[in-house]
């Protein structure tokens, strides 16, 4: 029996998870170059393939001291892919990719250092949802705390941008700062210098990543995903606005921040008197709320109304769009968003597609109605006007045209669109108050359904239709146990996909449930969880 001698020397194993175009390959190459310069044997490999086009992929690196190979007398045979449970360092160039690494079992509590950027690059599924499809980032942090020996997470994308560089540089810095690899800071920086491309910016990003990792807390903090509500200001300069503020302050504390947001929106949208109308409407709802025992329910009805009545009253019409597009603050925002420097000129082109409906909506109601119904004139205008228009807001002609349209604000209350929206608002609030008197929670959900109405033209129409379906469902649900939760489920289904398949399925199930059980009681058991 021949005696086989196994030699010491275990490679350091590193997995880098990145998306196409994030520079995962650069990071792997840097690591190899640094290790080789320091007298290590280094191997990297990957399966980029089609993932180079925005997909996710893994780069795998193994490092072994050259001296170990010399002692063994033959070159190492290093692995070509990471083995679950056998990786020392996992680097993720995006938060969800860290999650993917953990799902693959690459991160283990007894040995893996996990370095991840906390920034998100949303997947198509997250972006395309008609509502809010963004996944909860803290689930990844929670898993990382359990799965990794050491978890380092910070926004390395932002650090890279601050340095005018790319994330591979700040990630490289974070690796150095973490101390997970047996190389000094100089060795890392020398590698970047040797690359010779964008060296200064890369070194700046490297330094920021290094500091972040070197001073990282033992337990990373959760990511704050809450949405801030405005503070209620102490006073306003204008006496009429001050009066509004005083009114707001008489509302329950819980509702005040949203009321402030509502008043601000409506003054901005129309005028002080319009905001007064808003508070008057809310006053009525608040009284109903009090009667229905809102005190014990954190004034949920008033809160929902404070948000959605303001949204409904500030419907997006041509006047509003023209107003927002011509503001000085907007010109400034565009300049900063596109990163224009002093001395550079910026002109914007808007992509507008006016429809006959919008023109009618902006006319005085009787004229608008007539035009809408007049086949000859309406058709003529439709043919002449309905096409894509490139509006150059920075030129005098177009600016003055838009500015003029924005100035039509003072006539807004007389427009056809205002009539339509007001009627819609009235119907909705009537339904909400009627329902809330009988079923408080269902009333609140009826108000929340206003979330479905958004967008312009076709998108708006589709939301409108879904909203109407939910309103009739609310009427049917009234008097049934768990009606509010059912309506909430329907609303979430309505926001789940564009075609409305989820909503159709749930509504169908609702109807089937009633037919099958023959009694409304069957509903709650049939409800599909949102």
């Amino acid at each position: 029996m021949s005696q086989i001698v196994l030699h010491p020397g275990t490679p350091i194993k590193i997995a880098i998870l990145a998306m196409g175009g994030q520079g995962g390959g650069v990071l792997a190459d840097w690591t190899v170059e640094m290790a080789e310069a320091a007298g290590w044997w280094a191997q990297t490999t990957s399966v980029p393939g089609v993932a180079q086009r925005t997909g996710a992929t893994i780069y795998y690196v193994e490092l072994l001291p050259e001296s170990a190979a010399q002692a063994a007398g033959r070159p190492p045979a290093l692995a070509m892919m990471p083995t679950p449970g056998d990786v020392d360092l996992v680097v993720a160039a995006e938060l969800m990719e860290a999650g993917r690494a953990m799902q693959r079992g690459l991160v283990t509590p007894d040995r893996t250092t996990l370095i991840t950027s906390t920034h998100r690059s949303y997947a198509v599924a997250e972006k395309a949802a008609p509502g809010n499809g963004i996944a909860d980032p803290n689930k990844v942090i929670d898993a990382g705390r359990e799965a990794a020996k050491r978890l380092l997470c910070f926004d390395l994308q932002q650090l890279a941008e601050r340095a005018g560089s790319v994330i591979s540089a700040s990630l490289f810095g974070a690796i150095a700062g973490s101390g997970a690899l047996p190389f000094a800071r100089d060795a890392f920086e020398e590698t970047i210098r040797h690359g010779g491309v964008g060296v200064e910016a890369s070194l700046r990003a490297f330094a920021l990543g290094f500091e972040a990792a070197a001073s990282a807390p033992a337990e990373p903090a959760p990511i704050n995903t809450s949405r801030a509500l405005p503070d209620v200001p102490g006073h306003a300069a204008d006496p009429r606005v001050q009066a509004l503020l005083d009114d707001v302050r008489r509302f329950p504390t819980a509702a005040q921040p949203l009321l402030v947001a509502g008043v601000r929106r409506l003054i901005d949208y129309q005028d002080v008197a319009y905001a007064q109308d808003y508070l008057r409407t809310l006053q009525g709802l608040r009284e109903l709320d009090a009667k229905a025992g809102g005190d014990a329910r954190d004034w949920a009805l008033t809160q929902a109304a404070a948000r959605y009545v303001a949204v409904a009253m500030s419907y997006d019409d041509v006047i509003r769009v023209a107003d927002l597009k011509t503001r000085g603050s907007r010109f400034e925002r565009v300049r900063s968003e596109v990163g224009a420097k002093a001395g550079q000129l910026v002109y914007t082109t808007e992509f507008m597609h006016p429809r006959l409906e919008e023109i009618c909506g902006t006319l005085p109601a009787p004229l608008g109605r007539w035009l809408e119904n007049s086949k000859a004139v309406g058709g003529f205008i439709r043919r002449r006007v309905e096409k894509g228009r490139r509006v150059q807001t920075g030129t005098l002609t177009w600016f003055l045209a838009l500015y003029g349209v924005a100035g039509m604000r003072r006539f807004r209350r007389a427009t056809l669109r205002h009539r339509i929206e007001t009627a819609h608002l009235r119907d909705w609030l009537e339904r909400a108050t009627r329902i809330a008197a009988a079923d408080y929670a269902l009333g609140v959900e009826v108000l929340n359904c206003r979330r479905l109405i958004k967008g312009y033209s076709g998108t708006h129409d589709r939301g409108d239709k879904r909203f109407e379906r939910l309103m009739s469902a609310a009427d049917r649900l009234l008097g049934q146990p768990d009606a509010a939760a059912t309506l909430r489920g329907l609303r979430e289904a309505a926001l789940a996909d564009e075609e409305g398949k989820a909503l159709d399925a749930q509504l169908a199930q609702l109807l089937r449930g009633r037919a099958a059980a023959g009694s409304p009681q069957a509903l709650d058991t049939r409800r599909v969880a949102a």
Binding site: G49, P84, A123, A147, R227, I267, V346, Y347
Partner: protein, 733 residues
């Protein structure tokens, strides 16, 4: 001109003899070709062998010095047929392509080549695209080697072994008059390693020599009666010659181990994974020293019967590690052992999975199961480290311990399933193909859903969200061909998509010609983005680039009209979504007979950016007036419905918090990676979505006139804006 420049890599081809080469596996193959005195190289690009082609394309100078001819072939069939130069002449030739998909295309030529046999060494380098990262159907190249009798090399995945396989491959080919296939797995193609170089060699016999002194030998031509003789020659002469060469030159390797009653037989390409698997079981070190004996088949076809019997001699059981299915080698080994009456037990796909990639983990588990059944003592030890109880053992113990309770079962890790999104590949930022599919989606909204046949290429991403368009993909260039059956009278026509790469590969005849000949009534969209983009942006016949070594700028439209298509519409700016949609609708509804072909042209954005960016920066630096375009979304106008994203999926078009307490849903947002292609605005306009998008024209180095006009405009506009802002400020809360 490819996506990447390979100037640096080309220099590596010049490394003098005896020095160390460090780099990627596929580049090592390229160097090895030159060291072998190759006379010509041809191929068709595709991951994972694109770099081989790209480097050679950029290495004209050095190839000219050596007298090596290089061609970017029209297809794999062309590349395989190129090897005809090695039939009568002692010239070494190499061809390369992607995996089984390329070999499928090449098979006609390969079968003919293998039948008549070769005089000069003929090497076929296959970039095997199997397992993780693969973009094609999961099949083995092994079957091609068997059916046409070509030898199949599958070397250990280190550069030294790979380079040696190239050099040995040519000699084996010449020794046995048989073409040799060299299988390179994806990871081997991309692996960074090192080897000591040898001198590049000029081919001893040149192509010019061949043209000067043409030869022919009807015995090598596939025509009866020679074709019948070829089959016998294969068995009688070529096979034994190959076996002899493989044995004498020790192409397969034996590694001793001290558990001599068992052994592992493996494909060379799996070697590093097997060693790691053994190491995790405490049975090997990082350098390939294994306590279990190994028989490494660097040649996986033919199987050398005697070597198998030698290895099994005295062994109770052996385990074969053979990736993929069918289990050709395992069946072969069973036959060898049975015929020889050897009792050694052969394990294989009973402890290892029949299908799927053999990852380290899979192989570790398989080896463990094999040893548990046949040599349990091996699993109980781990004492033979050089320093008694070394680092290795600690590592493998911890690996085993953690494997006992995988962290993936922790509830927090399991909960990741609900948040970690799939990340399918998609169109790049600014891709000109995006608006084509946005338009197709809009056309379907007007005219109803249609049957859509897809093709291979970036445009295949249309089948994924957010577009969800397309029903089948039948192979490169076969988009139009796969709509052939739907040539029946009906109100709705089929739609086929084909890229310019696929068009020149075979689509002109298989799709367009076929549709004309059979009077197909369908609509064919040809995506012309100036390059073979999916494979790395190589030039093709219709590319617009000035390429000194190739003839480009041959319009697709001319070819199509030449083939007899009457109804052709060329759209030279795909970003014009409305026009694209209207043209599609016209094609779907026109009363014209025959195929309706739309050529949608715009330059691949990846390549365009690479081309234009340096020019732009140079112009800015030189003080020239240049305009940069970028898109943006006004967050206060956007209502957060994301309809625009469902018609785009552009990586630079994302979402962000609205910053407005009243607006719960995130709003659309264009990030700084935007290249200003214009798709967002065009889609918003064509689909009548919303007025939130804007295009910002940033004028660098404005002229005096620009500045004057801007001042005038600013004076009026600024005054009006301040007036309105003052009103809002007065009523501020």
């Amino acid at each position: 001109m490819a996506e990447r420049s390979f100037k640096k890599e080309v220099q590596q081809l010049r490394i003098p003899a005896g020095e160390e080469f460090r780099g990627e596996g596929i580049l090592a193959v390229t160097k090895a070709l030159l060291q072998s005195g190759v006379g010509y190289v041809a191929g068709y690009q595709g991951s994972p062998i694109s770099h081989l082609m790209d480097v050679l394309a950029d290495a004209k100078e050095i190839l000219d010095e050596l007298g090596v001819h290089f061609e970017a072939s029209a297809s794999e069939a062309t590349a395989a047929a190129t090897l005809a130069a090695s039939v009568h002449y002692p010239i070494r030739g190499a061809v390369t392509w992607k995996s089984t998909v390329g070999t499928n295309v090449a098979s006609d030529a390969l079968a003919n080549l293998a039948s008549g046999g070769v005089t000069g060494g003929a090497l076929i380098i296959i970039g095997e695209d199997y397992g993780e990262g693969s973009s094609i159907m999961q099949e083995r190249s092994h079957a091609f080697a068997m059916k046409s009798q070509m030898w199949l090399l599958d070397p250990r995945p280190n550069l030294e072994s790979i380079v040696k396989a190239v050099e040995d491959g040519f000699e084996l080919s010449e020794a046995s008059s048989t073409p040799v296939m060299l299988e390179m797995r994806i990871r081997s193609c991309h692996v960074h390693g090192r080897f000591i170089t040898r001198e590049n060699r000029r081919p001893a016999f040149s192509l010019a020599d061949a043209l000067a002194n043409p030869r022919r030998d009807t015995g090598r031509i596939v025509l009866p009666p020679a074709s019948f003789l070829h089959e016998h020659e294969k068995i009688r002469d070529r096979w034994p010659a190959a076996v002899k060469f493989i044995r004498e030159r020790k192409l397969n390797e034996f590694f001793d181990g001290d558990f001599e009653d068992v052994g592992l037989i493996l494909q060379g390409g799996l070697y590093n994974g097997v060693i790691r698997g053994l190491q995790l079981l405490g049975l090997a070190d990082s350098f390939g020293n294994s306590r279990i004996p190994l028989y490494v088949m660097n040649v996986t076809y033919p199987v050398i019967d005697d070597q198998v019997l030698e290895f099994c001699d005295g062994k109770r059981a052996v385990l074969l590690l053979e990736e993929g299915q069918p289990d050709f080698i395992e069946q072969n080994l069973h036959a060898i052992l049975r015929k020889a009456g050897v009792a050694t037990k052969l394990a294989g796909k009973d402890v290892l999975p029949m299908a799927g990639e053999y990852t380290t983990q899979v192989m570790r588990d398989g080896i463990e199961a094999f040893l548990k059944a046949n040599e349990p003592r091996a699993l109980a030890t781990g004492e033979h480290t050089a320093d008694g109880r070394g680092h290795d053992q600690a590592a493998c113990e911890s690996a085993q311990k953690s494997a006992a309770v995988p962290i993936t079962f922790h509830p927090n890790v399991q909960a990741l399933a609900s948040v970690v999104p799939p990340r399918p590949a998609g169109f790049c930022t600014g891709c000109p193909e995006r608006p084509i599919f946005a338009a197709m989606k809009l056309a379907q909204a007007d005219l109803g859903e249609h049957h859509i046949s897809c093709d291979i290429g970036c445009h295949l991403f249309s089948i994924l969200p957010p577009f969800n368009l397309g029903a089948t993909t039948m192979g490169y260039g076969l988009g139009a061909a796969s709509s052939s059956a739907f040539n029946v009278k009906h109100g709705k026509r089929s739609i086929s998509v084909m890229g310019d790469g696929g068009f020149w590969h075979n689509g002109l005849t298989s799709g367009i010609g076929n549709a004309v000949f059979n009077k197909n009534d369908g609509v064919i969209v040809i995506v012309d983005n100036f390059y073979s983009s999916a494979t790395g942006g190589q030039d093709i016949l219709s590319s617009r680039a000035d390429n000194p070594d190739r003839t480009t700028k041959n319009p697709i439209e001319k070819a199509i009209r030449g083939a007899g298509v009457k109804w052709v519409r060329t759209i030279d700016r795909t970003y014009d979504v409305a026009r694209m949609r209207d043209t599609l609708e016209e094609a779907l509804t026109t009363t014209a007979d025959g195929p309706k072909v739309i050529i949608a042209q715009s330059e691949c954005m990846l390549n365009k950016q690479r081309r234009v960016k340096p020019l732009f920066n140079k112009a800015v630096k030189a003080g020239e007036r240049v305009v940069k375009e970028r898109f943006g979304v006004d967050p206060d106008v956007c209502t957060g419905d994301h309809a625009c994203i469902r018609l785009s999926g552009c990586p630079s078009l994302s979402v962000k918090d609205s910053g407005d307490p009243l607006k719960e849903d995130p709003v659309a947002h264009v990030d700084s990676s935007c290249v200003g292609c214009g798709n967002c605005g065009e889609v918003a306009e064509a689909a009548v979505l919303c007025p939130s998008f804007y295009r910002a024209d940033i004028i660098h180095n404005p002229t005096f006139r620009d500045r004057f006009v801007a001042r005038m405009r600013g004076a009026v506009i600024g005054w009006l804006q301040r007036r309105r802002a003052a009103r809002l400020a007065r009523f501020a809360l």
